[in-house]
Symmetry: C2
Subunit: 301 residues, 2 copies
Amino acid sequence: MDKLIECVPNFSEGRRPEVVAEIVEVMRGQGVTVLDYHADPAHNRSVVTMAGAPEKVLEAAFRACQVAAELIDMERHRGEHPRIGATDVIPLVPLEGATLEDCVRWARELGRRIGEELGIPVYLYGAAATRPERVRLADVRRGEYEGLKEAIFLPERRPDFGPARLHPRAGATAVGARPFLIAFNVNLDSTDLGVARAIARAVRESSGGLPAVQALGLRLQDGRVQVSMNLLDFRRTSLVTLYSRVEEEARARGVEVAESELVGLAPAEALLEVARHFLRAPGLRADQLLEVRWWHAAREG
Amino acid sequence: MDKLIECVPNFSEGRRPEVVAEIVEVMRGQGVTVLDYHADPAHNRSVVTMAGAPEKVLEAAFRACQVAAELIDMERHRGEHPRIGATDVIPLVPLEGATLEDCVRWARELGRRIGEELGIPVYLYGAAATRPERVRLADVRRGEYEGLKEAIFLPERRPDFGPARLHPRAGATAVGARPFLIAFNVNLDSTDLGVARAIARAVRESSGGLPAVQALGLRLQDGRVQVSMNLLDFRRTSLVTLYSRVEEEARARGVEVAESELVGLAPAEALLEVARHFLRAPGLRADQLLEVRWWHAAREG
């Protein structure tokens, strides 16, 4: 089977729709499938989700980075979300046939090309990081564009590729590899923020909870509270396990789950696991879904 | 959105792979997507699952019927499965944007064309039936090819289109419309056929059970028993409701479910309903599945 990857580049532009559209068109022009894109004016940031064969995705990401450097001037950029450059971050995600290790290799190829051909300093992060202190994106972004102007000269902030100074308009770019991330929130039938926070602590990996889970408790606009989660690897912790654990922790505190929500996309396999579990149907396969079979058939020509 | 339908023609040939391949190729040549095909030597029969825009699917079905009439001689056909012709049955199934009523209209168009242009008598069945006694395929097939040679001259067996006598090689064809059918079996941790039959009676519509459910109890080769079901409309009875009811009926008889299995394909929506129920995620949509989104994006160009 052909290899397929996903790429979710983030650009520091969310207020000029024509600029976002131009960046998206450049990517489409490389033969990738643009699955989704979303511009956020408050964050002044946009996120594009594309997928396809690795060579096309890499070329699309490179071209988008080149165009973003022409159209976005970080000297004039303001927005709430932390960022270091016009193309702020480019994560590569294995979908089919490809492994995380493949994506690490491709992230390094892409990073080298952006550094050398576009003169934009590149930091490798996530599974592609070359140093432990660069695995987390928040650490790579420390000081943001403005702070990095000086900090980039420090040995510990030296980029992995490209010049050891910020690009005058485009800043710097983080390029990395990670497994597919599922954003999954559980809303509680409660207004007690303490309960949501306690559940988040109980389920997240960093405080001894479930593997590959990030979680925090927060308050929704309607006053209820939510356990907001990122599932970093649904093969290590399934949605069934995660949801069941949140429900159990809530009940132990006398609180019921109101409803849950999947934010954005998830591979069919992640949801199918739920059906497999509750219908006791261990043999259920993603390609038994009509649309998935069709998608496979169409790809195979 | 463009209309999409599925079509699952059955051909009376399961022993000559080159004949099945030729029929499949004729369909592919019309620009439809062939999702699956399966030749069964014991039944001497093959089933092709194709999908696409209605006009392409209708053309593909017509051409396949034409080729089958050239390549298959019913005078020489032997096989265990009841059948009346070389192209035995052509069901049209609404997928997206199309309704069952649309498929009824298209089934009649297709039936008329097969009757008039190919000289093959056509019986409309299912939702496209013109008489109540032709809704069930088993009734249309009564007497099979051999018996229908004489019976076709009876007023009550007069075909809806085409000549009122069998085609000398191709016999007759049933053309119809039906909702998507999901084949779903539940295996019991029991060897008591009576229990499987009692559960089947409790869940099937014909004996007062769940709407749109057909069920029978049977014994598997390993000695255990199974409740074998067709879910004729998963929007009327969901997989969750069906599975839960079988489990409940089994427990009431002191028997546990061993496992269940989906046979063949199901629309993503049918499985997603399971996740929606158990994760309490009412907002979950099929196009949040990465592969489904991709398939949509690819279709929209």
